[in-house]
C-alpha cells in the first residue's frame, strides 16, 4: 500500500506538468499507463461492487498497462479532499490526460470505457 502511495504521489507530481505528460504520452503511444484511483467508502456492498467492476474492466481492457489504487475516503479524508471527491464511489483517471471522474459503482461498462477513453464517443 505504501509503495503504491509513493508511486501515486510521484505520478501526481508528473500529472501537474501537463505538457511533459502530454509529450511523454506522445512518445510512448503504444504503452500508455493508466493511473487510476478508486475512492470508496469502507466495505459497503456498493464499494465492493465498484472495486470488483473496476478490476474486471482493467484486466479486460488494460491488461499490464494500468495502475489502480483503491482509497477509502473514511481512512484518508485528506486525499479525498485534495481530489475534490464528492460522490462515492469515484474512479479518477489521473493519467492519461484529460482527467476524468467516473462516478458510480461502475456497473455500466460502456459508460466506464467511455470515461476511460477506451471507446469512442457515440
Amino acid at each position: 500500500m505504501k509503495a503504491k502511495e509513493a508511486k501515486e504521489a510521484k505520478e501526481a507530481k508528473k500529472a501537474k506538468n501537463a505538457t511533459a505528460a502530454f509529450e511523454q504520452s506522445l512518445a510512448t503511444p503504444q504503452k500508455q499507463v493508466y493511473v487510476l484511483q478508486l475512492y470508496v467508502t469502507g466495505m459497503t456492498p456498493r464499494s465492493a461492487r465498484a472495486i470488483a467492476n473496476a478490476k474486471k474492466i482493467c484486466e479486460t481492457h488494460l491488461q499490464g498497462q494500468y495502475d489502480l489504487s483503491v482509497i477509502d475516503v473514511y481512512q484518508q479524508p485528506q486525499l479525498a479532499k485534495d481530489a475534490q471527491i464528492l460522490a462515492v464511489p469515484t474512479l479518477v483517471k489521473k493519467l492519461p490526460l484529460p482527467l476524468r471522474r467516473i462516478i458510480g459503482d461502475l456497473s455500466d461498462r460502456d459508460q466506464v470505457l467511455l470515461g476511460l477513453n477506451l471507446k469512442p464517443k457515440p
Binding site: Y39, T41, R46, V73, Y74, P77, A80, K81, Q84, I85, L86, A87, V88, P89, T90, P98, L99, R100, R101, I102, I103, G104, D105, L106, S107, D108, Q111, V112, L114, G115
Partner: protein
C-alpha cells in the same frame, strides 16, 4: 425595534444573525440547529448575507462557521469580502471561519451506476469538527444539479445532507437560485422547510431595490412583508418597517423653534420633543429658513441635528442661510450638525428609508430635517411616499427625534392640502404662504395645527431679516384681514400719526384745565378777600356790641345800687348777693 419577549421562554431556540434588521424581522434570528433556505435570483446578495451570517456569528457571538462555496474559489471569496470590510483570511487563521471550495466539473464526470455523496459529507464533517463550527453555509448547493445528472440520487442525498446537518446541530444557510415556477430552481424548499427567506432585486422606474421576504418560518412569528435592504461598506441593513407598533412614549418636553414669537404662538414653549413638524409652503415662502432657525437653535443648545437635503447642497444651504443671519457653519464644524445632500432620484424610496435609518443610527441626532419631502414623489407614487413617510415618522417617534418635514406646495388653492397628504401624520403644521395684498407679496405664517397644546390661531406676517426669521406684530385691517408689507407699514404710520394727534389733543386739554384751575384760584382769592373784609367788618361790630354791653351793664349796677339805697334787693348782681350772704 421589536424585541423578543424576555418573560416568556422562546418556543424555538434562535441564533442571532447580527445583521441589522433581520433579527427584528425573525424575532431573534434563524432557527437554531436547523437549515434555512436563502433563495433569490443572481445578484440579490445571497452570498453576502450568508457570509455576513458567518462572520458576525464568529466575531460577535463566538460561533465559528464553515462556508462551502460551490461556485467561487476561496481566493475570489476573500477578495470579494475584503471590499466589504471583512477580513476572511484573519478569521480563517484564527480558526473562526473555514472556507471550503468544491468544484463540480460536468465535463470531467461520467456516471456509471449508483453512488452517493459521502465524499461531501466527510469533507463537511471534517471542516465542522476542525473548528467546532456552529454555523454552516452551503453556497450554492444546487450547483451539484448541473454537475451530476442523476437527480434521484441527488435529491435523496440532499435530503440526507439536511437531516445530517440538523443532527450535527449546526445552524445552516443553504442558498438557492430562484426558479421560474418555484422558489428555487431545483425545488430545495421541499427539503429545507423550517425557514425560507427570499431575496429579490427589482427594478422600478430605472431604480433597483433589493428586498427581503421571509416566506416561511416554522414555529415562529415573523414579519411577512417585503423589506428593502441595503448593501454597502458596512454590510447588509434590513429595514423592518411594519413591525413597528404605535407604542412610542410621548414626551412632554418642549423644544424651542428658534423663533421666540413662534414659540409664543405655541404656548410660549415651542414644539414637543419627538414630535413631527410639517412646514409647508409655496416656493420661496421661507420654509428652509424656518427650519434652519430651528437647527440653529438646536445647535446653540448643543443638540445634534441631521439635515437631509434633497434639493440643495450643504454649502448652498449654509450660504443662503448666512444671508438671513443664520450661521450654521460653526455647528457643522463642531459636528453637531450634519448634512446629507443627495438627489432623491439616486435610489428608490426604500433605499432612502434605509439610508436615513442608517445615518440616524450612526449620527444619533435629536433633530432631523428633511428638505423637502415633496421631491420623493419623483421616485414613487403618492401612496408609496406616504407609506414611506409614515414609517419614517414612526421611526423618529420611537427614537424621540423631533423631525421637521419640509413640503413644497404647488400654491394656489391647494396650499392647505400639501402633497403626500402627510398632514394628518404630523403633530404640528406650519403653513407658510405668500399673501398678495396690493401690488406686493408678503410672507405669512399660519399655525394650522399643533397637537397637544393651546396654540395661537393668528395669521402672522414674518420677515426674513439679517437677524433671522422674525414674526411681526399683528395688524388687522378694517375688513378684518391681516395687513402685511407696506399695508402694515402704512397702518403702522397711520397709527403713529393718530397717536401724535391724540397726544396733542390731550396736551391741549390739560392746558385748558390748568387755565380753568387758575381762573378758579383767582376767584377763590377774590372771594377770600371779600370774606376777609366782611369778617373784619363783623369783628368791629361785635366789638362795638361788647363794649356797649359792658357799658350797659355798668349803668345797671349803678342804677341798682342806687335802687338799693332806695330799699329793694331785686336789683342785686349775683356776686353782690353772695358777698351779702357771707
Amino acid at each position: 425595534m421589536k424585541k423578543p419577549n424576555d418573560k416568556l421562554p422562546p418556543a424555538l431556540a434562535k441564533v442571532p444573525t447580527g445583521i441589522q434588521g433581520l433579527d427584528d424581522l425573525t424575532a431573534g434570528g434563524l432557527p437554531k440547529g436547523r437549515p434555512t433556505l436563502l433563495c433569490g435570483a443572481a445578484g440579490c446578495g445571497k452570498t453576502l448575507l450568508a457570509m455576513e451570517f458567518l462572520v458576525r456569528g464568529a466575531v460577535e457571538y463566538g460561533e465559528p462557521g464553515v462556508f462551502v462555496a460551490f461556485e467561487e474559489g476561496i481566493a475570489d471569496l476573500e477578495k470579494n469580502f475584503a471590499s466589504l470590510g471583512h477580513d476572511l483570511k484573519e478569521l480563517v487563521a484564527k480558526k473562526h471561519l473555514s472556507l471550503e471550495s468544491i468544484h463540480v466539473e460536468r465535463s470531467e464526470i461520467e456516471e456509471t451506476g449508483e453512488y452517493d455523496l459521502e465524499g461531501l459529507f466527510i469533507r463537511l464533517g471534517q471542516a465542522i469538527d476542525a473548528i467546532g463550527a456552529r454555523r454552516v453555509v452551503l453556497d450554492t448547493v444546487e450547483t451539484l444539479f448541473s454537475g451530476l445528472s442523476n437527480t434521484i440520487i441527488l435529491r435523496a442525498e440532499l435530503r440526507r445532507l439536511f437531516r445530517w446537518l440538523k443532527d450535527k446541530g449546526v445552524t445552516a444557510i443553504i442558498t438557492g437560485e430562484r426558479g421560474e415556477q418555484s422558489l428555487t430552481r431545483y425545488g430545495l424548499e421541499e427539503y429545507v422547510a423550517d425557514c425560507v427567506i427570499l431575496l429579490d432585486n427589482r427594478i422600478e422606474g430605472q431604480m433597483s431595490t433589493r428586498r427581503l421576504r421571509i416566506v416561511k418560518y416554522r414555529g415562529s412569528t415573523h414579519g411577512t412583508n417585503e423589506y428593502p435592504f441595503l448593501i454597502d461598506a458596512g454590510g447588509i441593513s434590513i429595514l423592518p418597517i411594519t413591525s413597528i407598533a404605535l407604542k412610542h412614549e410621548a414626551s412632554t418636553e418642549r423644544v424651542s423653534s428658534g423663533i421666540a414669537r413662534l414659540d409664543a404662538m405655541m404656548g410660549g414653549k415651542g414644539y414637543y420633543r419627538g414630535s413631527t413638524v410639517l412646514i409647508s409652503g409655496t416656493a420661496g415662502s421661507g420654509k428652509t429658513s424656518v427650519a434652519a432657525q430651528f437647527a440653529h437653535a438646536a445647535a446653540a443648545r448643543g443638540e445634534r441635528c441631521l439635515w437631509f437635503a434633497f434639493e440643495e447642497s450643504s454649502s448652498q444651504i449654509m450660504r443662503n442661510m448666512r444671508s438671513v443671519g443664520i450661521d450654521l457653519e460653526p455647528a457643522v464644524r463642531r459636528g453637531t450638525l450634519a448634512f446629507h445632500a443627495v438627489r432623491p432620484t439616486i435610489c428608490g424610496l426604500e433605499m432612502h428609508l434605509v439610508t436615513i435609518h442608517k445615518l440616524v443610527r450612526q449620527f444619533k441626532p435629536r433633530i432631523v430635517i428633511i428638505d423637502p419631502i415633496t421631491n420623493f414623489s419623483a421616485i414613487g407614487s403618492d401612496e408609496d411616499v406616504k407609506a414611506m413617510l409614515t414609517r419614517l415618522i414612526d421611526y423618529f417617534k420611537m427614537q424621540q427625534i423631533t423631525a421637521v418635514f419640509i413640503s413644497l406646495n404647488s400654491g394656489g388653492d391647494s396650499a392647505e392640502s400639501p402633497d403626500n397628504a402627510v398632514s394628518s401624520l404630523t403633530d404640528t403644521w406650519l403653513l407658510l404662504r405668500d399673501l398678495q395684498i396690493g401690488a406686493e407679496r408678503n410672507r405669512a405664517l399660519y399655525l394650522l395645527k399643533s397637537r397637544g397644546m393651546a396654540h395661537s390661531n393668528q395669521v402672522r406676517e414674518f420677515l426674513l431679516t439679517d437677524r433671522g426669521v422674525e414674526l411681526q406684530d399683528v395688524y388687522v385691517g378694517p375688513s378684518g384681514a391681516l395687513l402685511t408689507g407696506t399695508a402694515r407699514v402704512t397702518l403702522e404710520l397711520e397709527e403713529q400719526a393718530q397717536a401724535l394727534v391724540r397726544e396733542q389733543e390731550s396736551a391741549g386739554k390739560e392746558r385748558e384745565l390748568e387755565r380753568k384751575r387758575e381762573a378758579m384760584e383767582a376767584q377763590i382769592a377774590v372771594l377770600r378777600a371779600e370774606y376777609e373784609v366782611e369778617r373784619a367788618g363783623a369783628a368791629k361790630l361785635m366789638e362795638q356790641d361788647r363794649m356797649r354791653n359792658t357799658l350797659l351793664a355798668g349803668n345797671r349796677t349803678d342804677m341798682a345800687r342806687r335802687r338799693e339805697a332806695a330799699g329793694g334787693r331785686a336789683g342785686k348782681t349775683p356776686k353782690q348777693r353772695q358777698g351779702a350772704k357771707r
